[in-house]
Amino acid sequence: MTKARGANVQRNQRLVMDLPEAAGDSLGLVLGPSHPVLRGSARIVLEVEGEAIRAVDVQVGLLHRGFEKEAESSPYDQTLLLAERLNYVSPLLSAAGYALAVERLLGIEENIPMRARRLRVVVCELSRIADHLTCVGATALSLGASNAFFLLMDARARLWRLLESLAGPRLGSPYIRLGGVNSDLPDDWIAGFRTFSPGLRQTVWRVDQLLGENPMFRERTRGVAILAKQDVQGWGITGPVARASGVLCDVRKDNPYFGYEDFEFDVPLGDVGDNWDRYCLRMEELRQSLRIAEQAIGRLATGPVIVDDPRIVPPAVELRQTQVWAQASLFLLATAGPIIHPGEVYSAVESANGELGFYLASDGSARPKKCRVRSPSFANAAALGPLLTGHFVADVIPTYCLFNIVGGECDR
């Protein structure tokens, strides 16, 4: 690392980049975890000259809660509660990803009833919509477009009221269960959804006008933080950020699960890979997710909503009162959790930020030997630093917001 001439500031030892010869003074600036417009929990240490960023160190980990360590000493069904809190903006999706991994480990993915799979698709897509609404809304607010923010948050509030009536608590919902979902749709839910979805389309259209036609917004996002297509895969970037750069990758198409192969939907792609493309892509994904949810609701199969497997689902109440085996299964499930034969699995779902993978290794006991979360936010965040170098301080805001690095998912 070369020393800046005349530098009168402590050079931050932790900055990674090999700095070219600095001309003039440089200033160390910390866009700390508490920041009026940077939603999330990263500590971005900048070395700036004027407005230009010379070096960046994105420091994550402030929300590290030891998920993997905790999972090693918890039964599989208890870890489901923790998995929800990974991406807390779309919690049902994270939980569904974990549940799928356990079901694949048990080898019962094919036995999950079709109705349960369709319902999972519905909540996953609605969760994805919630996440994108939050992401774009926060970006808008960060850039000063509070009108767009309020429109998007209004849509989000209506969506969460809809999800609440189905899934219960917003965070800590028991809706996703190992083996299916917890309960069936309430009677008037579909009617509620049919009221909600045109409203969402209307909101997306209006926000597209407010933001998409807005020269200030375009100026802040076009051509900013261009992530080249050839760099995407090496960085391990997936999800909307990768697709915005033109890389076609979507776990729902590549390795379908929950019956996604039955639905028609497009995977939008960007051309340039700048912030503008990331914004447009998310807006288009909102429309596509709604399309999938509508198809899923139209094709809800009849039947149970959870698999009938005493290894992970307690038997029915009448059985539990008259049969010893049923009460035995319930007791062991409640106090020890599911016991899974030795095996390993790598299972991925398309979360709102990209490929959310779970690597599970079981050893025949009630606790996993290893529960690894492949976090899309973490991989995406790795590229943020090099991407921002050479840009202006003001560009940090839209880039960071549109990368949508969710602290819970990134830090686990």
């Binding site: 009162q321 008259t322 010893v324 049923a326 035995a328 062991l332 106090t335 020890a336």
Partner: protein, 505 residues
């Protein structure tokens, strides 16, 4: 020793001969229960819950010898349904009471039913949902729940074959439900009666002191340990949740323990010494160690320091004390405390009540009995005494010794429990117990067996070797026991015969 290779559902296993098919299934982790089988007994075989397929034939795994190259199939539909039917027969008439039964979580029938679920019993006439509230007691420690009996005959065979006292028998009643008969005149305070609580797969015999029922299974953990009640040193499993030992069970060996073994890790009515004390006031480790060093240093330099070893201490503790006293400081006055011989009932219990006498003799060869201290103090040869891990020395058992110790100006005691000796001491230092540290004992047959901790030490207690490392450093001697690894290396170099071959030290 010949070893037998076989496959169980495609998984290869290798077992020392002789072995049964059931041993192979267990080694492979297959979910096969065998309710009437127990390693301490000959196979019955009567319950038929262990049926598997070998060479296309349905056999009872507990009684079938394992032949080399056998291909065992436990998941074939014939085997699965045969086991399911046997379990259904066995659970006919069994109370539907898992949610309130004390055996839940450790019940072999429960585990078998859950593994083979669903195990439907048609027209189950017994739908009682809780156990009888007034259960009969057998002896002082066993509560009896006859309604849980599944007729496996483990208990009747155990009392006949192992204890040679046929105090239990099984009668068929009304042709279907087993009826356990107890010889009313029998004394259930016999030395191995508590083994019945471990033996019974469904908990007909409940150890009244077993407190595992209060802990959910997901927070229970187990640690491999060794009973320190006598020189036999039976390997055990300690079960608990990080706040004490809740249950003890056998770990190989004879596959059962004596009554004392099951109760060894119970609270013994003694208060635990958990923090250092100086002059009967709580002190920090730094202050207490400094005070201890200040008390012992002058005597050490003058050659009037006495060190007392205990045959209850783990080998590493004895090693550290030996490194200090025997090897480096050349303490002239070395004593040992061994518990006197006590009752013994074969086959397990030994009259020698010292778990680690062999290590003590090897590490402190010139030690004399602790009672010799009386004269040596009286003659002024000893002015300071350091006791480590000494137990059961009270004014009632050693009156002259306590009188002599009363006249000392320097008495430092390291102990796990608060007793008369620690109250007498000017400085008392808390020692971690067997369930709190890693260590080993050398039993009466010269076998070194290691134990692992169930939970971390209470309060501020330290392992004996760790404590001695700090104390001897303050006395100006570096014994090199800074870490567990260093301690093991020292032992390996100086006394390899005392090192356990498997696991740690």
């Amino acid at each position: 020793m010949r070893s037998l290779a076989a496959t169980v559902d495609g998984v290869s296993v290798c077992l020392p001969a002789p072995a049964t098919v059931l041993d192979a299934c267990r080694a492979a982790g297959a979910a096969v229960v065998a309710l009437c089988d127990h390693p301490s007994l000959r196979p019955a075989p009567s319950c038929n819950t262990c049926q598997v397929i070998v060479n296309g034939m349905l056999i009872r795994a507990c009684a079938e010898p394992l032949r080399p190259g056998a291909a065992i199939n436990t998941v074939g539909s014939a085997a699965v349904s045969a086991r399911r039917q046997s379990l259904a027969k066995v659970s006919l008439g069994h109370p539907v009471a898992c949610s309130t039964c004390h055996q839940s979580g450790g019940c072999e029938l429960q585990a078998g039913l859950a593994a083979s679920a669903p195990v439907v019993v048609e027209k189950n006439t017994v739908t009682r949902r809780s156990l009888a509230t007034h259960s009969k007691t057998l002896g002082p420690t066993i509560a009896l729940h006859k309604e849980l009996c599944v007729g496996c005959t483990r208990c009747t065979r155990f009392v006949a074959e192992v204890l040679h006292r046929p105090i239990l028998s099984l009668h068929a009643s009304h042709g279907r439900i087993a009826n356990l008969q107890i010889d009313e005149a029998a004394d259930f305070n016999v030395p191995y009666a508590l083994a019945l609580t471990e033996l019974c797969p469904v908990g007909v015999f409940e150890h009244k002191e077993d407190r595992t029922g209060t802990i959910p299974l997901w927070s229970q953990r187990s640690a491999p340990s060794v009973c320190a009640g006598c020189a036999t040193g039976c390997p055990v499993w300690l079960h608990g949740n990080g706040q004490g030992v809740k249950r003890v069970s056998s770990r190989g060996g004879a596959h059962y323990l004596c009554n004392d073994g099951y109760q060894f890790f119970d609270e013994r009515g003694l208060l635990r010494l958990a923090v250092p004390f100086t002059a009967n006031a709580v002190a920090s480790w730094d202050r207490a160690l400094a005070a201890a060093a200040a008390l012992l240093a002058p005597a050490m330099n003058a050659g009037s320091l006495a060190v007392v070893f205990s045959a209850q201490s783990p080998t590493l503790d004895l090693a550290a004390l030996s490194a200090f006293a025997v090897e480096r400081a050349a303490v002239a006055h070395v004593y040992s405390n061994l518990h006197p011989d006590g009752d013994a009932t074969p086959p397990l219990m030994s009259t020698n009540k010292n778990p680690n006498a062999a290590s003590l003799i090897a590490l402190a060869p010139k030690s004399r009995p602790i009672t010799s201290l009386v004269d040596d103090i009286g003659q002024g040869k000893v002015t300071a005494v350091l006791c480590v891990g000494v137990e059961s020395v009270t004014p009632e058992t050693h009156p002259a010794l306590f009188e002599a110790l009363g006249g000392l100006t320097a008495l430092v005691v390291a102990s796990s429990f608060e007793d008369a000796l620690t109250r007498q001491a000017m400085v008392s230092l808390p020692l971690a117990t067997v369930e709190e540290t890693t260590g080993s004992f050398v039993n009466g047959e010269g076998v070194a067996q290691s134990f692992a901790p169930l939970h971390s030490p209470a309060g501020d207690a330290l392992a004996g070797w760790d404590l001695m490392n700090h104390l001897s450093r303050l006395l100006g001697i570096e014994i090199g026991f800074a870490s567990l690894n260093d301690a093991r290396v020292w032992l390996k170099r100086h006394h390899p015969a005392l090192c356990p071959t498997q696991g740690g030290a």
